[in-house]
Symmetry: C2
Subunit: 192 residues, 2 copies
Amino acid sequence: MKTAAIVAFDKFTDIDVFLAWDLLNRVKFRDKDFQVMIVGTEATHRSVSGLDLPMHATIEACNEADLVFFGSGPGTRTLIKDEAYLRRFSLNPTRQVVCSMCSGALLIAALGHLNGLSATTYPTAVEALKAYGVKVEEDRHLVTHDNIGTAAGCLAAVDLVAWAIARLYDPAVSHDVIASVRPVGQGQACIY
Amino acid sequence: MKTAAIVAFDKFTDIDVFLAWDLLNRVKFRDKDFQVMIVGTEATHRSVSGLDLPMHATIEACNEADLVFFGSGPGTRTLIKDEAYLRRFSLNPTRQVVCSMCSGALLIAALGHLNGLSATTYPTAVEALKAYGVKVEEDRHLVTHDNIGTAAGCLAAVDLVAWAIARLYDPAVSHDVIASVRPVGQGQACIY
């Protein structure tokens, strides 16, 4: 059984968590055993827009997940300095797909998994990401290296999730999931 | 003070409610008094993917909102037959912007506001929408008539919300909100 963990925290950017949540749940139409969790450190986390979202599990669930997806938001700036938080992660990108939206790249960098790699992030997080020694590709909405992917600009999540699903499964599953959310007349195709 | 109400219900399609929620909340960067509510009939509604979402108000809030946004999902098929539910709405598209994603068009039709108009909806809801006498424009992702807009294919929500914000405010506010979520390198621009 494959699993995905979406990392949320206080002041997460709504669209980053929810777009990944919806898209990844559509994988179940191709693999009914696929499991998607939203994980955090509290029972609920409040989004930057004020929604209280219950968590499915704690962040330790990331360490066994096949896909780990870091959302973004102002909350990342606090967490990257929180050593106790960071120590709870033990990710291994040789066996896990690890990816981020926007400032979520700061968390992957803080965990040491962008060492020597390039990445992309939201304009307001570029300098902070450079401070980790990461080469920031500021004009690219999606940058991938083997199992590590970073994307920037909320709607880039569509391409990021498509890439992640293709790595977990195959391009056909990825195509079907994305086609199911395209506007009609623009490649939309029902998956169920 | 302008307000928007996003209508949710049990088995709502996650992305339809959450994408509108995120995009509409960005209007606050241009009008800090703008208020966005997710409304339903219960304290919480469960999405089709299993998220329990607390409501901000009941559906009666739609009757005074400047923008009423109907999400979609399997839940619409039950609600369009629920006369007591439908009677709680008293919308007036001459003074309110009323719009829908996918099968949400069935609710606008059931409320009588698509009489004599064309609309679009998700492929699986086309026949049900035609049963209301609505001319369904199956290949168009966005169909608008004055203050009434219908869109189909989840990501068409971006264009639907852009249209709705332009009607509530002006094209500049709409442009800024949408630019804030575009992928970097594809027209992305920070709004804050």
